[in-house]
Amino acid sequence: MDWINVILQGILVGGLYAMFAAGLSLIFGVMRLVNIAHGDLIVLAAYVALVTTQTLGIGPLTALIVVVPVMALIGYALQWFVLNRTLGDDLLPPLLVTFGLSVIIQNGLLTLFTADSVKLQAGDIEVATIRLTDGIYVGVLPLLQFAVAVAVIAGLQFIFYRTALGRAFRATADNPEVAQLMGLDNRRVFALAMALSLAVVAIAGVFLAVRANFDPSQGPARLIFGFEAVIIGGLGSLWGTLAGGLILGLAQAIGAHLNPGWQILAGHIAFLVVLAVRPQGLFPKVRT
């Protein structure tokens, strides 16, 4: 009985990790950029949600209406004015610029909000549970979070494979020079991709904020979880990223059950094992 609960918890939190990972995976797929500030942007979104709920007096989930467009706009501007200048064959500039960005965001948040941890209150939904069978209860909020994660991944799949925007993303990722010749302005395509990525980050940030305490220093850990989920799942596949998130969540839950101090370490070990045994990930997209 105990173990079933552990597994359930692991899978549900895995949905959140998949959301951390989805934005990361999208950006790497479209423009071969790994955004080291990704985790810090998730935390930034959480603080934007905090400010929004406090000033407008609305609940966290309603706040999504504000947080998502705000973060998308930040993403567009960030890509257009800063990150587009770093793209090219050399991988140092984007890596170092996003690293610098990470430091700036963390310390900026520290200055504005101090290191005190905070949490968003979502009301009764936080403690509501659903009874599955005897002795097995599932929190409504984690279930909702999982459902949203699946919806986000499905949504991204849809955008990528069934819309003109997704076509533009894939074409530019395949061959930026020819895409440009077809009339696609690369700068705009990349900026839209980053905007989409940060929209996902916004959703992940709000759920993070409701789920547990957060503070400005939590960014790097979110980046690492997202990254581990991407690698475990396999590069190039969004559903693979979901699977990777679930496996990571599961590994952490099992580790925590054995010894609370081992939770995060268990996740890292799962990652390293996959890296050692099957480096291409469990469900990589095979490109012909």
């Binding site: 140092l92 890596l95 170092l96 690293f99 700036i104 990254f227 890292h268 390293l272 050692a276």
Partner: protein, 352 residues
């Protein structure tokens, strides 16, 4: 190749490869003078001066090693704090558990770290580019979390160096300060020398080729993986020794301090970027700039860190080759030149 040889033979020429020119010889002479002055620091400097200089030496060493890894071998790691912490913990472990004098523990830590680097490389080399960077970070996190589980070395809160071990370095505090300072100076000189020698050897040529085009390098017969592995191991070794020395001087260790991303990676990267990646002088210039900024601005706390981040971003966008890169572009000289020049010398005219 054969035409050059036959041309040389017909006019009786000697062919050799040299590094450097007049400006670099002057630069090196100046360096020698500076080293002598630094070695004499215990005579003219107080305790604070020695500590500041030791810290600067440590950062020059760490940044030079990171530069070797990232700027020359193309392995951009944001996880070198793994080896700083590893070296430090090995020193404390040797001292507390095996009673080995810290002075011997430093090179020993380097060797062990070099060995540990091999399986680590086996894992992280499976990742490329940006993913490699984050992979190294995760390894550092694993080291940190593991260290905090080792209760005999203080677990999560850390531990101090036992008094008996402290005495083993030198009998008086002043002498200990001098010894630790000289070790720091010797270590940074040794590391810089090793780097220059490595880059001037055929491995250095291989690295240059790999940096330009990995595929072409492979086709030329260069074992890319082995070259990168060698650089990774050497860097791990050096970083661990510096880490061991840093925490020897602090006399206290904890997982968060030993494996701090900020202290051992963020600052190191900023130093190298600002000073100039891919050039030996870069980390030296960067360290000086970094410490100048720190002495003047550190009171600003988080604002200071934000400014560092901003400066690094601006430099990456506007002057990717850093300050020293600008100097070289403008004035064309270098202190540690690595460009190879082929010199033909006439021995004697051929007799027909």
């Amino acid at each position: 190749m054969s035409t050059a040889m036959s041309a040389a033979k017909s006019v009786r020429q000697n062919v050799r490869v040299v590094f450097g020119d007049r400006s670099s010889h002057i630069g090196l002479a100046l360096c020698a003078l500076i080293v002598v002055a630094l070695a004499a620091a215990p005579l003219w400097g107080g305790r604070d001066d020695l500590q500041l200089l030791s810290e600067m030496f440590a950062y020059v060493a760490l940044a030079s090693l990171w530069n070797l890894l990232a700027g020359y071998a193309g392995l951009v790691s944001v996880g070198q704090q793994a080896y700083v912490g590893l070296g430090a913990y090995l020193l404390f472990a040797f001292a507390i558990l095996a009673g080995i004098s810290p002075l011997w523990a430093i090179p020993l830590a380097g060797i062990v770290a070099g060995v540990v680097a091999i399986p680590v490389a086996g894992l992280v080399f499976r990742l490329r580019g940006h993913y490699f960077a984050i992979g190294t970070w995760i390894v550092a996190e694993v080291f940190r979390l593991t260290a905090s589980q080792i209760s005999v070395l203080g677990g999560g809160s850390g531990t101090s160096l036992p008094a008996s071990m402290v005495i083993a370095i030198a009998p008086t505090r002043q002498l200990r300060d001098f010894v630790e300072y000289w070790i720091a100076l010797a270590l940074v000189i040794a590391i810089l020398t090793a780097i220059v020698l490595l880059l001037r050897s055929r491995y250095g040529l291989a690295l240059k080729a790999i940096r330009d085009s990995e595929i072409a390098a492979r086709c030329s017969g260069i074992d890319v993986t082995r070259t990168k592995l060698l650089v990774y191991i050497v860097t791990a070794c050096g970083t661990a020794m510096v880490g061991a020395l840093i925490f020897l001087q602090k006399l206290r260790i904890s997982p968060d301090a030993a494996f701090s991303v900020n202290d051992w990676t963020a600052f190191v990267i900023f130093i190298t970027v600002i000073g100039g990646i891919g050039r030996i002088e870069g980390p030296i210039v960067g360290t000086i700039v970094f410490f100048l900024l720190r002495q003047t601005l550190a009171d600003l706390g988080t604002l200071y860190l934000m400014m560092l981040g901003l400066v690094a971003i601006l430099i990456m966008l506007a002057a990717p080759k850093g300050i020293w890169g600008l100097v070289v572009a403008r004035f064309g000289f270098s202190v540690f030149p690595l460009e190879r020049k082929v010199v033909f010398e006439e021995l004697s005219p051929a007799r027909e």
